[in-house]
Symmetry: C2
């Protein structure tokens, strides 16, 4: 991931996002406190790791009852979330694009997919999953008028490389690319290539290796 | 990721999967050879990393013209793919489940999503995206009769924890979990929790940090 170097490492940011979802679910269930080793167990990591992550963000109110769930949620909110909602556009409103839109917008995040782009005449000009779909020709104008700072790319893989220049020109700051074409952006644009095929093939490989080598575990 | 320890590290397996997709795309375009630094550039890594990964799998036919694309694809196929197609079931045939099914099954992988499970009477008993959808009650029987070794979980998050026992009982070997509930499986089951919200929040965090700290890059 091409990222602007900050004080908090990428992996810690990922875990904070994960802790928060667990804490929100605990909070919903009426759980008020949680021990570091319980939080660690849920995430399959060590309690030392949890404590190290929370120390890194300056959270240290571990009591005899464990962490105060509500306070810790607020604390992580302050780290992860901006003051305002961040507007996101999705490029490619096919099955994956629509699924991602429904998925993210249903989660009550501080991140909102506010518009989509496509070139399919069946989609352009329509409202799909409650967001308007524009033609890619209008990309720069819409990004500017809707104050969009991030894009999610869920276009066909072959289209992805053609999106790099429009994204740079429009002043987009963050890119989450779900296609199989790895994209490189200049410094100053945070980008993550996130091809889910890779993860499927990885799990399959280790399943196969486990079978090949007998029951080693 | 809980994995059975093999000779090849997880990260290398991920990169091999990524290299292969790039190589397949090169092959389609009629490109016969590729230098390690070109492959590296496409993936935003160093040529040393590419050469190290390929050395690790015993591939060393770097010539003056670079790697032979077709030979390298075959070589990676032998590492990543089993002799036969691996059958996968998807649990939760909502928007994300359907998008994932269309996405993976359209890619010509050695991995096939062959069936779905749900509890929605609107879906159970029907064929969706060319695969049959069964009720979760039939999970163990169908897994056995269809020779399924991997599952993808795209159910609602609150349902995910209830799936652990059926998955273990059915003898599933690999789990790719897309929900926000991290799931832990006993050794011998390869599992990966892959919550896409995490990655979205991570990119958003670094975008926000970049803004906060001015244009550092």
């Amino acid at each position: 991931m091409a990222s602007i170097s900050g004080a908090i490492p990428e992996k810690t940011i990922e875990r904070l996002s994960e802790y928060r979802r667990t804490l929100l679910s605990c909070h919903k269930q009426g759980i008020t406190h949680i021990f570091s080793h319980v939080l660690a167990g849920i995430h399959g990591i060590t309690a030392v790791q949890v404590r190290r992550d929370l120390m890194l963000i300056g959270f240290s109110s571990d009591t005899k009852k464990g962490y105060d769930v509500k306070v810790l949620i607020e604390f992580i909110n302050n780290i992860l979330d901006g003051d305002s909602v961040m507007n996101i556009a999705i490029i490619g409103m096919g099955h994956l694009g629509q699924a991602l839109t429904k998925y993210f917008n249903g989660k009550g995040l501080k991140l909102r997919i506010v518009t989509a782009f496509d070139v399919d005449p069946e989609k352009v000009g329509k409202t799909i999953d409650d967001i308007p779909c524009y033609h890619m020709e209008e990309f720069e104008d819409v990004v500017s008028s809707m104050d969009i700072s991030m894009v999610i790319i869920s276009s066909p893989t072959r289209v992805a490389p053609t999106l790099v220049v429009p994204i740079i020109n429009a002043g987009i700051k963050g890119v989450l690319n779900f296609t199989s074409a790895p994209l490189n952006f200049p410094q100053g644009i945070v980008s993550e290539n996130y091809d889910i095929t890779t993860i499927l093939e990885k799990v399959a490989y280790f399943v196969k290796e486990g079978d090949d080598s007998g029951d080693k575990s």
